[in-house]
């Protein structure tokens, strides 16, 4: 059992897919509510305050990206988007509009469940709403006031850019941040296409954090962005 009754709102128009997700999540202890249209999804997300939203981007009535944007206006609940066509730009758009994570159809159920667990685990620390000086991501602690980072109590020396990169990911822990978002915040608006920076800095950070490649804290989402999770 993954959960003790967190409410998951599934916004999915495909009857069979909605049924499968509902059955699978209920078997793991989640409480599930299904909406078959974007409008119904918006109504329920406002009325029921779900812990997590699973949102299919291909809805019959309202564009999924728009649904994402509107839910973000009142809710901090993590949103996991489901793309049917594997179109990179659609999921990146959704992530930039406030979605936290994505899966691409046809996805495996364990993959969706894993992403759901991450979303629930980091729910409290989600969004740009967290602005504590001390951000904890498992055994990783980022002190944004003193610009210091420790892993399991041991100090890690970072360059200013490495620190900003890590602090941004920590502030949005669990959430996938797109290349564009990270470059914009750390290197400035003129650097939004310099994805080569990210590769270099991500590698340096993994080395300094002594990330284990089998269960890394700093996860690469190929072609999309990066995210930071607590080590399991």
């Amino acid at each position: 059992v993954d959960s003790d009754g967190d409410l998951v709102l599934v916004i999915e128009d495909e009857r069979s897919m909605a049924r499968i997700m509902a059955a699978s999540l209920q078997a793991r202890g989640y409480e599930v509510m299904v909406a078959r249209t974007g409008q119904d999804g918006l109504d329920r997300s406002a009325a029921e305050n779900p812990a997590v939203v699973i949102l299919d981007l291909g809805l019959p009535d309202i564009d999924g990206i728009e649904v994402c944007r509107r839910i973000r206006q009142w809710s901090r609940a993590p949103i996991i988007v489901v793309t049917a066509d594997g179109a990179e730009d659609r999921k990146i758009l959704a992530l930039d509009e406030g979605a936290d994570d994505y899966v691409t159809k046809p996805f495996s159920m364990p993959e969706l469940l894993a992403r759901l667990r991450v979303a629930v685990r980091h729910r409290q620390a989600f969004g740009p709403f967290v602005d504590d000086d001390l951000i904890e991501v498992g055994d990783l602690v980022v002190d944004t006031a003193d610009h210091q980072v420790t892993v399991a109590g041991a100090r890690v020396e970072l360059t200013p850019k490495e620190f900003e990169f890590l602090a941004l990911l920590a502030r949005h822990q669990g959430k996938v941040l797109t290349h564009r978002t990270i470059l914009h915040h750390v290197w400035g608006p003129e650097a939004v296409n310099r994805t080569e920076y990210l590769r270099t800095y991500a590698n340096q950070l993994r080395k300094k954090l002594q990330d284990d490649s089998s269960s890394p804290r700093l996860i690469t989402e190929p072609g999309v962005g990066y995210r930071l999770v607590a080590r399991e």
Partner: protein, 381 residues
């Protein structure tokens, strides 16, 4: 262009030739008239000598005519005006005649020359107009060719667009049932512990989705047959009732929340149809109806025979079709707003029904649902 130049040159006045011809005729006329000099009046040679001036004017133009007139006057003076053999004129009356001759000859020559000029100019204009007309004709033909080329390119572009649309919708449509199948399979492999009824429901769902995949693939095969023109009905005697019974059993999972009411009169004649193809037509129309019918509603299938054909009607209680949809519903890749279908199913229905010599139509019922109607041929003899 060369031809035009050559003909223009040919018709231009040739002063040397005109003058030479004029003088030759003056000399010939003088030589012929000379023996009768004493028998004829002086007016006769004067009149006859106007002829070479006219000839010179026609062939050589105005200057040749004037020169010929002068030569003619000299010949007239020398040969016919006393004293003969000299240019001198003895009698004043003869001087007046000579002057009148010159004046008349020049006037006539000038008039004839300018008339000839006008005629030549008119002919030239006519020729130019004709040439222009020819060029215009060539331009029109060229334009026509370009138009045809453009039309052909537009058709090719349309075909390209349709192929892209087909690939898009097919990959989406194949992926949707695949996604459900994969989700259930990975979930069960992962060791998900389900209560028995739920596990059965999920496996049932996998079977449904596999059948949906099969229907999509069947439609794709038909589509490719339509494209290659290989949609030949393999006709046999078929009882519509049997076909429908079989079909309803196979599609029953599509109608879990919908009532299917099939009313086929027992006395319906046998149909002369390709069983597999008409099965596909009914499957596509029923699947389309099931997709749009609200839960709890009824889909009615009925059939009636009339003079050599059977009309099948499928009526649902869904939202119906809007005007634009009714017009284009049988075109490939036309899907309703928010539709989850490939948009080829109904296009295939139309192609198959028409290959059987029948007709298919879509309308709205008075209560707002959609009604699909098509005719099928009856077996003879």
């Amino acid at each position: 262009m060369l031809g035009v130049d050559r003909s223009r040159r040919r018709r231009d006045p040739k002063p040397e030739f005109g003058l030479a011809a004029g003088i030759a005729v003056v000399l010939a006329a003088t030589a012929i008239l000379l023996p009768f000099r004493s028998d004829i009046s002086r007016a006769s040679p004067a009149l006859i000598l106007v002829i070479p001036v006219v000839l010179a004017a026609v062939f050589g133009g105005r200057m040749a005519a004037i020169a010929t007139a002068v030569v003619g006057a000299m010949a007239f003076s020398i040969a016919f005006i006393p004293p003969v053999g000299s240019l001198r004129v003895a009698v004043s009356e003869d001087a007046v005649a000579l002057v009148v001759f010159i004046a008349v000859a020049i006037a006539t020559g000038t008039l004839v020359a300018s008339e000839a000029d006008r005629r030549r100019a008119a002919e030239q204009r006519a020729e130019e107009i004709e040439a222009m007309h020819g060029r215009y004709q060539a331009l029109v033909e060229e334009q026509e060719r370009l138009r045809e080329e453009t039309a052909r390119l537009a058709v090719l572009e349309q075909v390209d667009k349709q192929r892209a649309a087909l690939l898009r919708s097919v990959s989406h449509d194949l992926r949707t049932p695949l996604a459900s199948i994969r989700a259930v399979a990975t979930d069960l492999r992962d060791g998900a512990a389900y209560a028995r009824p739920i596990q059965e429901e999920l496996l049932e769902l996998v079977c449904d989705e596999a059948e949906r995949l099969d229907r999509i693939v069947a439609n794709l095969l038909s589509l490719s047959r339509i494209e290659t023109g290989a949609l030949q009905p393999d006709r046999q005697a078929v009882a519509l009732e049997e076909l429908l019974n079989e079909l309803v059993t196979r599609l029953r999972r599509l109608f879990v929340h919908i009532t299917l009411d099939v009313q086929v009169p027992a006395a319906l004649p046998l149909l002369d149809i390709d069983y597999v193809q008409i099965d596909q037509v009914l499957t596509n129309v029923l699947e389309n109806a099931a997709r749009h019918a609200p839960p709890g509603s009824t889909i009615r299938v009925s059939a009636a025979s009339s003079e050599g054909s059977v009309t099948v009607a499928i009526v649902d209680q869904g939202p119906g079709l809007n005007g634009d949809e009714i017009e284009h519903i049988f075109e490939p890749f036309r899907t309703g707003k928010g539709s989850t279908s490939t948009g080829v199913g109904l296009a295939i229905c139309k192609a198959i029904v028409e290959a059987h010599g029948g007709m298919i139509s879509a309308t709205n019922t008075p209560d707002g649902g959609a009604e699909f109607r098509f005719t099928l041929p009856v077996r003879r003899g």
